[in-house]
Point group: C2
Chain length 246, copies 2
DNA sequence: CTTATACATATCATCCTACAACTGCGTCGG
DNA sequence: CCGACGCAGTTGTAGGATGATATGTATAAG
């Protein structure tokens, strides 16, 4: 039996499609942890692709920790608890509503990150953050260069926390948001809001210099709510707006 | 019969080794973002493996968002900012200090998560959380079953936020921490602390039922600080301990 | 009958060759 | 000058062949 893989407009590579198919089957519970996958031979026949393609797909899933392959035996589905890594695909962000959720997550992470950074920042961190801020305010319009500087500003703050995980997560989230900005600029004229954006960043920076966690957190929350609004994302009514510190 | 040599210290699979090699080259900056990788042909000669192996290695790196392959052109190193996916390797947690950082991240995420859940939880969420709590307190000792219930408790709270990303992140972080628990139990007798653990969970649950975000956040912070301490992780002196709400 | 050895089989791991699809660039003809 | 075309190089896919490894099964020794 030959199964047709979803062939949406874009020409996604075959291995990716096979991996996505199997991944969905695993996530949805159709393939319980512990069960053995069909052999590569069977899979290649089922999907109508070469074994090479199947192998690449399985290699991906194995790298993601979803399955384990034992030579001479077969490939087995691993329980989520056994997985050694996490991966979040940027593709999934395109679904409606995900942008709001992502901004919400960003708000949580960055607000706390700003507070931690205010406590732990050293001079070198402040210098790096200041440099990004200068690059940002030097630009006339809010475009490629200044957006880079904008994101760098946030990453540098994350770095100042001294926590690599926070830095990694925030870097990732920021990059996802960069894409939405790129998209939003096509429909909205955002240029005249540069001063507002810079002003928000300056307030964050000043709080960091002062070493005031509460002020830094409040400034960051205010900024992210504003930034979300500027790209057309309405944060759900929640504590995200309560930028009153603790 | 001649005994078959047990393959102890099994060699890592070839694709994995190639991927690790290239990955190190990229991370260390020897291969700058934007540069083109050698062709698959050249790489297969360089490493003395088949092109197939090289392809699997590249497929892994591509899945990790490290490189981008364009048909007819070549494979290019992506800047960290351009990566479309995030992956955290469980192996890295073994490094000293990483456990503390992970707990810190967990504290941030879960505290806010609890607050959001207190606002948005529906009856079904409360039921699920209560079920996990009951399963946990039903156990005599803090072992496999009750730890499962413990983590389920936290995942259900994350689910109650209605934000998939939060749920995903917390699920992952929790699973990493489960391992540290398993390890910590080998050296520390933790059993007599069950009541403390359950008590902390009950307070979180009650805050959720009451729909009190501030109390939920405070209870969660207190719990995580306590949990970290019980598995031998000392959270860095920080606002993490200021469970005074906002 | 029990046990151990040898064999057969199934499966993944790797290698190999060939071709298709695509890109970039130079060439050639207008 | 310039556009159409073809060529070489590269990745993507196909399919077979062989090696490595685990598992089951039949066979022979005790």
């Amino acid at each position: 039996m030959k199964q047709r893989l979803a062939a949406i407009g874009t020409v996604e590579a075959l291995p990716h499609r096979v991996a996505a198919f199997l991944s969905r089957e695993i996530e949805s519970g159709e393939l319980n942890p512990g069960t053995r996958l069909p052999t590569e031979q069977q899979l290649s026949e089922k999907f109508g692709v070469s074994r090479n393609v199947v192998r690449e797909a399985i290699a991906q899933l194995r790298a993601d920790g979803m399955i384990e392959a034992r030579q001479g035996v077969g490939a087995f589905v691993l329980a989520p608890e056994q997985r050694a890594s996490i991966r979040i695909d940027g593709e999934a962000l395109k679904a409606t509503g995900n942008m709001e959720r992502l901004f919400e997550l960003r708000c949580i992470l960055e607000a706390e990150s700003a507070a931690l950074a205010a406590e732990r920042r050293r001079q070198e961190h402040l210098d790096a953050i200041k440099a990004a801020l200068d690059r940002m305010s030097g630009e006339e319009r809010w475009e490629e260069g200044s957006i880079d500087a904008d994101l760098l500003f946030h990453r540098e703050i994350a770095r100042a926390t001294g926590n690599n995980y926070i830095h990694t997560f925030i870097s990732f989230v920021c990059e996802q948001i960069r894409r939405s900005i790129h998209y939003a600029r096509l429909t909205n004229p955002l240029h005249d809001l540069v001063e507002v954006n810079v002003g928000e960043h300056v307030r964050i920076y000043e709080a960091l210099v002062a070493g005031d966690p509460t002020a830094a957190e409040a400034a960051m929350r205010a900024h992210i709510v504003g930034a979300a609004d500027r790209v057309g994302v309405k944060l759900p009514a929640s504590r995200a707006a309560h930028s009153t510190g603790r």
